[in-house]
Symmetry: C2
Subunit: 160 residues, 2 copies
């Protein structure tokens, strides 16, 4: 409850990107490690989901014995995954982008790729929006016709 949106508008995403760019690779101090339950609660997903994401290669927490231990970086990746989902990317697509990121060579190139994907997504979403608007129109016309029919019928019934 203590975070997420106090700076202005694009802060949430900014934070995501920022988190993602934090280079806390392997060798950071011990602070800020999370259990699977921690993350599950924080992001309101099930343990099953977190394990599933791991299985799909989206996150790789290390182990403390058997138990998973998530770093801030894992957490940031999870954030990206969830935001990707919100905007309609499939887990596979998300993995693709995360993997690109991890190649970590010409980051500029990777960012450009991501940017392209984002723009593609925007186009898709706009198309979907239009389809929904279409469907809404068709549906509204239909309800109009049907309630017309209905009134006729009821009127007819009254006349008989």
């Amino acid at each position: 409850m203590s975070e997420s949106d106090e700076p202005a508008a694009e802060a949430q995403i900014g934070a995501v990107i920022a988190d993602k760019l934090e280079d806390d690779d392997g060798l950071h101090p011990r602070g800020s490690l999370f259990s699977i339950g921690d993350l599950a609660r924080e992001f309101d997903v099930t343990l099953r989901t977190l394990r599933f994401y791991e299985d799909k290669g989206l996150i790789n927490p290390r182990r403390e014995g058997l138990n998973r231990l998530y770093s801030r970086r894992d957490r940031a990746r999870l954030k990206l995954v969830l935001m990707g989902k919100r905007v309609g990317f499939s887990l596979t697509e998300i993995k693709g982008m995360l993997d690109l990121y991890d190649l970590r060579d010409g980051q500029v190139a990777q960012l450009k790729v991501a940017l392209d994907r984002f723009n593609d997504r925007i186009a898709i979403l706009e198309k979907q929006k239009k389809e929904i608007e279409q469907a809404l129109m068709e549906l509204r016309r239909t309800t109009a016709v049907v309630s017309g029919l209905l009134k006729e019928k009821e009127a007819g019934a009254r006349r008989s």
Copy 2:
């Protein structure tokens, strides 16, 4: 064939409903029968799809030997199915409504039920539309942030 409503605009749907209301039950003359291929071409669906719909109880063409023979009524049902799909109903929901129709007792009641479903669908579609708009906003903000980052990086690269 006495079509009572031809007001221009909602004519397509009007036609659907009209077709559906045509009482060509079992005993109509022989004209206007269709093969599976006919309907497939006309509505641009695969044969597999038509068989699948039959399997699901959405259409029941009769048989001429083994081959399927579709009546105008089957065709009208198919039309309704496809329009239902366009506006986002699942095949199961569509079947539900078609079955109601076939109960053919108090048609008025059935029409009211359908009308309710339509309104529910409208609500759902509106919600989806909002979600898409949300996603679009999030995505646009993100692209903005990313392209900002990108410019910084490129500028940095030029300075170095």
